[in-house]
Subunit: 196 residues, 2 copies
């Protein structure tokens, strides 16, 4: 069965790939807006893990309205959620049996409710899987420690291909360089260098 | 890492075992009240899948109060939920790194909320995993088809070791033979005969 997993090169979506690998033909898919080439970081991580890799280009309008919303809100939650929902809709339209992401039980954003999952599945005739949604943060960290070689550090220093990178560029372009610091509190990110 | 998975011999808990197998030393644990020997069905299924097997005997009082509640309610939901929570507390007290069950995204019962999961983890210093909670019914069925050899049929004819079997006996003993039909609507169950 063919499965498209939304992939950032970070530990969560990498672990999701390992969990699904025994049951699906997993391809890792990085969604981007054509703003930066950060998706290449995800491609490199996918290669070291041994999974096929593709990109999907999303509507630039969605990124711009997400950046504006994040700037108005002063925090990233609603903008990130909107982009993730848009990315899921995009891969759900592909000719695959299932789509998946790396959302965890304790994630505040993005989160896909049971009703949203059912709606995606019904409208696109596809299964939606969130293989880490039954794992808390501590469990994910322990399993990642045994299975993956991970680089961890401040968000702005870690090579990655999640939505944040391109949204940071858009925020700077539209609202000036201080906007990024206003929207994103300092936080750490992870990047997967390979398997353990 | 040592993990104890609550196990019935059915397709959901069997698939949960396969999903966790790459990352944990999984042992399958059937909870029972000492009322029947139905746990032997789970033991046989565990053997065919190649996992170590143990039982945990729960408090008979919990089964009796669950049976009385189910009889009063006229449906099984609250009684089954109470028994499952009791079983999770029992294995959470074991010396393991993680505990798990086979609950799915679409299950109405048993369900463990995010708050209940966090409480279990904090009180017992253990990770609680529900590896199928990000899988809908259709996805589970498709993966099971490729991975497991499953026998399906009416609940009363399928060998299994979930809580229902012993609660059926208790209901008959306490409230007469019609009570079982009043509480449990006809439904199908599954029993795992091996891997595909």
């Amino acid at each position: 069965m063919e499965l498209a997993l939304l992939y950032s090169g970070g530990k969560d979506s990498s672990l999701a790939a390992l969990l699904l690998d025994s049951f699906y033909d997993v391809r890792l898919v990085t969604a981007h807006f054509g703003i930066t080439d950060d998706w290449e970081h995800a491609e490199r991580a996918a290669e070291t893990l041994g999974f096929p890799f593709e990109t999907v280009e999303l509507d630039r309008d969605v990124a711009e309205s997400a950046a504006a919303e994040m700037y108005d809100d002063g925090y990233p939650r609603n903008g990130i959620q909107a982009v993730h929902e848009h990315a899921l809709e995009a891969v759900a339209a592909w000719d695959v049996d299932a789509i998946a992401d790396g959302t965890r039980r304790d994630d505040r954003v993005p989160t896909i409710s049971r009703a949203q999952a059912q709606s995606l599945e019904d409208r696109h005739d596809v299964d939606y899987l969130a293989p880490l949604s039954g794992f808390g943060r501590h469990a994910v960290d322990r399993v990642v420690e045994t299975a993956l070689d991970v680089q961890t550090g401040p968000s702005e220093e870690i090579p990655r291909a999640d939505y944040e990178g391109e949204l940071r560029v858009l925020l700077t372009e539209e609202f000036g360089s201080a906007a990024v610091g206003d929207v994103f509190p300092p936080h750490t990110q992870t990047y997967v260098r390979g398997r353990q």
